[in-house]
Symmetry: C2
Subunit: 452 residues, 2 copies
């Protein structure tokens, strides 16, 4: 039975798909936090190259992928699409489960799909150094790899709790020539401020973003790069879903359900936006698109859909998104890449409009799912990815109940080779499931700045 | 420029190639250590299933791969063959460099290629538990994965120096349901004996083999499995070279040089035996086949070609091979999988006969090569694999000198995701290069038992 559905390198997409073109009305624009007026490209030009700013706002349906970027993609793309025969058999489900395996990339996850074009456009614009942040380290190692390709320097602010849990992500960044420091750090004003208030803070993505932006603003020929959340990052990740659609067509299939885990939302965007476009344009109106988030950072399921800052210190524009409040510090947990207070504005809009929906799970149940996946399909996934695995297993089990033979597609976004301490905690029974009282969530939401 | 040469799952080889069929004269047989007479199948039946014993001695040119085993292979095979465009450009070489990427397997290396059929044949023979050993942990995690597929129990004796350097390999074995204990252990007579002599020993593969064999002999329905050295292990690994030959034919190429790293010798055997067969049968008489070993365990380059034990305690047959003496304990170094006192009898014979040759490198220079590879091709290889990378780079640099456009093929046998502490030591400048005085080697060789 065919297990892997493969494409040739010539079939690496030549264009990214931009779901903004198919939204029934435009996205609410990012606002300047000082003036509360929509930002203009110049507001962003201190930290982003003009081509990425253009991609952030364009409503063109397709954006060309530079040949030089496609040439780098050949190192791992197109990635294989797997039919999960062994998992299906184990679950005794009539559903067909497919997963897109992004763990074959150099840094081991989908993050490289946007790191390479981001580094490329910065290089083209004469930028010589990138400052960025990372949660679990997948983005940090990806941007380290990408900047190395173009002979650029790179500094990564890594969320402290992950820095301590995953020391070898730092080693990987070093092999590729980047510098990696725990955040909050004493290098930046925003880092020092947080440390003063709480020297033992586990850190957060919001804090690390503030540090990286501050670094970029204050250094010559240095730009900032973000591995998630923004529209251009979603755009770059659509290679995942575009390939999936081709691969499923090769076996005469099309998904009834599309699933991804959600931190900032871009791996989910990557696999789902081409299908969301099919839904928005009426080609496949019934497709069910599910984002899976951690119950310990439940932005889409318990957050507010409103304008909020993307970082802790307030250096970034206000984005219209689901948020728990920009100063919300999620507990230290193993899916560090999902510890973000907000979400991609496009994903948020689509969830708000009912084009997509969201579910939340606790870490002990997602690790149950991850172990089942490892013991059937052989792949040990990242803690972030295990959320998508759990979502897919639950949908497949529903099919066992109903007898439906649905086609379920999920994004297997990265391997867990640097996350084995999380599996150790799981097998030792020491994983903690955080449940937020409503009052605590409300308090965080009340701190979101009010827009006039 | 095409980077990856891919095959369909239908092109997973249907038969293994057995180079024994093309040797000009038979291999010297394994001897019973007590009688010094050739062993008979019954001598091995206490620890191996009959089908593997048959494969150990057969001179059939091809051996069928069971369909059930090919079905498991679909999870990662055929593996991609890469053209190393970026490395070639960096080296300014006219050579063409290809590498076979075995790191895409569940456990991250070629070892799974033999773990699966070994577990399969044991399951078929009614065996319910496997005892085995592991050096760096690649074999241990592979046999853990394979035994899990067939619902068997598994105990792994892991060489202590690697157990401490690579704690997450143990976590991986646990995810797949196996038990992993540091060797020498107090579980076995052979382990206790070594610990009594030297409580601080780093352990060795020879000691760990003794423990696993002793465990298998002393437990019901338990067999032993070896991840290297033996003829049937070489046989199983030939899927690598067979696929390479097909993949190179797709781009109208054939190697002038074939390279692999050598510990027990089976990943090298896997990539090279199909080409060695072409050489032995006169189809390609000039192909250069190079095994690369660590200078700190220089079996092929400084050992003796003679009968010796495969393990420390003397539980195994005497094998005719290159050896440094069965009680030789190599220093603790990062390429734990290459810390073996002997070599595959077939590889040894082919090196002895001049069909293949061997070179040795120090660990600091192989890590230089590994870093170059990571910074060009993006892949962070295992310390073992870095020896093959170094060999390929050196051959490519010779081509730059001579202007020859040779086709160089090497086995990129595994990823280094669990070996980042070695890269940390490299970048900290703390790697130690061991150079053995001739006297010390001679002393170890003098302890090899004399055959009448």
């Amino acid at each position: 039975m065919q297990t892997k559905i493969l494409l040739d390198e010539e079939q690496i997409p030549k264009q990214w798909y931009n779901v903004q073109a198919d939204l029934p009305s435009p996205l609410d624009p990012p606002l300047n936090p000082r003036t509360q007026k929509p930002i203009v490209p110049e507001d962003l030009s201190a930290i982003f190259p003009m081509e990425l700013i253009r991609q952030e706002v364009t409503t063109d349906r397709y954006v060309d992928i530079p040949e030089e970027v496609r040439d780098v993609f050949r190192l791992w793309r197109p990635t294989p699409l797997y039919r999960a025969h062994r998992l299906e058999k184990f679950l005794k489900t009539p559903a067909k489960i497919y997963y897109k395996w992004e763990g074959v990339s150099p840094a081991g996850s989908h993050k490289v799909n946007t790191a390479v074009p981001q580094a490329y456009y910065n290089m083209k614009a004469g930028v010589e150094r990138i400052a960025s942040e990372t949660g679990a380290g997948q983005w940090g190692s990806s941007i380290a790899f990408a900047t190395m390709l173009y002979d650029m320097d790179c500094t990564i602010y890594m969320v402290r709790s992950s820095y301590e849990q995953k020391p070898y992500r730092k080693s990987m960044m070093r092999v590729w020539g980047a510098e990696c420091i725990p955040s909050p750090s004493t290098r930046t004003e925003s880092g020092r401020t947080v440390l003063k208030k709480d020297p033992d803070t586990p850190g957060s993505l919001g804090i690390a973003i503030s540090e990286a932006v501050e670094d970029a603003v204050n250094h010559e020929k240095t730009n900032y790069a973000l591995g998630s959340v923004l529209n251009h990052v979603c755009l770059h990740q659509t290679v995942i879903g575009l390939e999936c659609r081709e691969q499923l067509a090769m076996v005469d299939d099309y998904p009834d359900v599309v699933i991804g885990c959600v931190g900032g939302g871009t791996n989910f965007a990557g696999i789902s936006f081409p299908f969301a476009g099919d839904k928005l344009t009426g080609k496949h109106p019934d497709i069910d698109i599910i984002g899976v988030e951690p119950a310990s950072c439940p932005t889409l399921t318990r957050g507010l859909y409103t304008y909020d800052l993307a970082d802790e210190a307030g250096y970034t524009p206000l984005l219209k998104m689901f948020t728990l409040g920009h100063d919300f510090v999620p507990p230290s947990m193993h899916a560090g890449g999902l510890r973000y207070h907000g979400d991609s504005p496009i994903v948020s809009r689509l969830v708000h409009d009912g084009v997509m929906r969201a579910v939340a799970y606790h870490q002990s149940e997602v690790f149950d799912a991850a172990q089942t996946f490892a013991r059937t399909e052989g792949i040990i996934v990242a803690p972030e990815t295990s959320h998508a695995v759990k979502g897919a297993i639950d949908e497949a089990l529903k099919c066992r109940q109903t007898g439906e033979s649905k086609t379920i597609l999920f994004n297997c976004s990265g391997h867990g080779n640097f996350d084995m301490s999380a599996y150790d905690a799981y097998s030792a029974g020491t994983l903690v499931d955080y449940e937020y009282p409503d009052a605590l969530i409300k308090e965080a939401l009340d701190r979101i700045p009010k827009i006039a």
